[in-house]
Symmetry: C2
Subunit: 310 residues, 2 copies
């Protein structure tokens, strides 16, 4: 089962709540997603960068051998997306210090011909109209999951609602779920979103874990409890990468297993939780590049044991 991710690769500047800061580090939704998913399955990445994209960042991505970089377009005369942000008193709230869209303002990267048969598609946060174009180009897709953000709920809600009719799953933050549905209660918000099209919705709550609202059930999971939190950037994308990568892996292990059953998604959420828990321990991909699939499996077992009650 081939997994495709469409999103951004960027150059970030991050100020953490702990007072640390780092300039010009590798970031972007595709970056984090693909690195996390690569522990479970091969992953095809579609993103555009400018000709200023540093060779050493490409070298970092190449260290994740399961990432296929054929869809990484280096666009002549363009500049890479840049973002700077500062985390506020807690890890869940941040303010953007600057956003230079650069290549993101231009035409989106094409989906390579060889990627059009991808069975699993993850649409990282982007304008829902752009996300829809990816669906038009992937004709054999069997599972589509999308992320979104408050900006699109505010300025492109019709496009977003149209997209939601075409996806199997939606992943979004807690406050975005409230913004989209008007429900402060996450279970009520999730049920409301199921009525908009998806088979399942995952509401991300950062350090408080996540909630799965699936047509076949509801599950809440805590985050992996840790005090090793350096930089939360990319936590949501590594979470989604673990989820989708694990779903692809579960299906590869047992092709009879339904790809997005309640049980499968719940297992995927554990993988996402654990991938995110490693990611936040260092800046950029610095922690993920150090660990192995065994490290993830080991922490996932600890997490499962922690939750074995009754």
């Amino acid at each position: 089962m081939s997994l495709l991710v469409f999103g951004t690769i960027g150059i970030d500047t991050v100020h953490t709540p702990g007072g640390q800061h780092r300039e010009n580090i590798l970031g972007g939704s595709c970056t984090y997603f693909a690195a996390a998913a690569s522990f479970f399955t091969p992953v095809r990445l579609v993103a555009a960068v400018g000709e200023d994209f540093p060779d050493e960042f490409r070298a970092v991505l190449k260290q994740f051998e399961a990432i296929d970089l054929a869809g990484l377009e280096v666009r002549k005369g363009s500049k890479t997306f840049r973002w700077g942000g500062k985390y506020l008193d807690n890890m869940d709230h941040r303010e953007s210090l600057f956003t230079e869209l650069n290549v993101l303002e231009e035409a989106p990267p094409p989906i390579p011909e060889a990627y059009r048969d991808s069975a699993l598609v993850f649409l990282a946060n982007a304008h829902p109209g752009r996300q829809a174009l990816v669906l038009d180009s992937t004709t054999k897709r069997r599972l589509v999951v999308a992320d979104t953000m408050d900006l699109w709920i505010n300025i492109a809600k019709d496009d977003l609602l149209a997209l939601l009719k075409r996806v199997d799953g939606l992943v979004l933050n807690y406050d975005e779920a409230e913004l989209l549905t008007g429900h402060r209660n996450t279970v009520a918000a999730g049920r409301h979103m199921l009525d908009l099209g998806p088979r399942f919705v995952v509401i991300k709550k950062g350090e408080h874990g996540c909630l799965l609202i699936h047509r076949d059930g509801i599950a809440a999971l805590p985050a992996y409890p840790t005090e090793r939190v350096v930089d939360p950037t990319g936590a949501g994308d590594t979470f989604a990468g673990g989820l989708m990568g694990r779903l692809a892996q579960l299906h590869a292990q047992d092709p009879k297993r339904e790809l997005a059953s309640f049980e499968s998604v719940r297992e995927g959420l554990v993988a996402g939780t654990i991938a995110a828990s490693f990611n936040i321990e260092k800046f950029s991909l610095e922690r993920l590049v150090e660990i192995s699939a065994d490290d993830i499996a080991q922490r996932a077992r600890e997490f499962a044991a922690m939750l074995r009650v009754g």
Copy 2:
């Protein structure tokens, strides 16, 4: 194993986020704690009310047959504690509209002679000096757990720190843990509090569940996911009641089991989570009075199944 709770019985007025409001309903920490604990074990209640305490409220408490009301002092010439509060945009934040301490400003109720052999003692939120007096009167205690609040951290911190050296467990809210320790990260805050004396600390996060920091391990649990939330008043006290009641029950079922082992406390937290999830479905004790131990056990099994991953 006899369980004693020392706390308040009050008359509440509550405005919920859903726009409902109810005046003059049965409330107080002892009330909620004892009702929840009574599903698991006999519970001895120590609290004072005034002579205005309505007969029908006593009748409600009597419906929980495992509550021993011998320690409920009705004080002539005094008035019952009254509190009015309004929940803000979410269920976790509320403002007090009025607080009439009344009998709480007078001498605390005495611990009845027959209660002094209590093995499990829960000190509901009160001035830590008053909580300490209860310990002086219970000479056979084997497990003491205390609750506290921001007020005492601010105005009676030395008394609180002295108390913490005498308790086995501390239960407190998320923001109170930060206030007491200066740590925003809950794991760091919990570890800090272990250094102050307790064997374990439970950080309550309302709709986001709880975190257990025990000398022998760490566990996070989500809340039971529900959209049936009418009135969160008493959620923390029913949570503590389920915890302590279940610990007493586990020990009664297997006296060789260590009373406050990591595993036992984790099981207790499930009971507390489920008790609280029922309590918030209606005002006052209106939901708890309707349900049975079987209902709690059934929901606890669903909760455990939801968390069975990997």
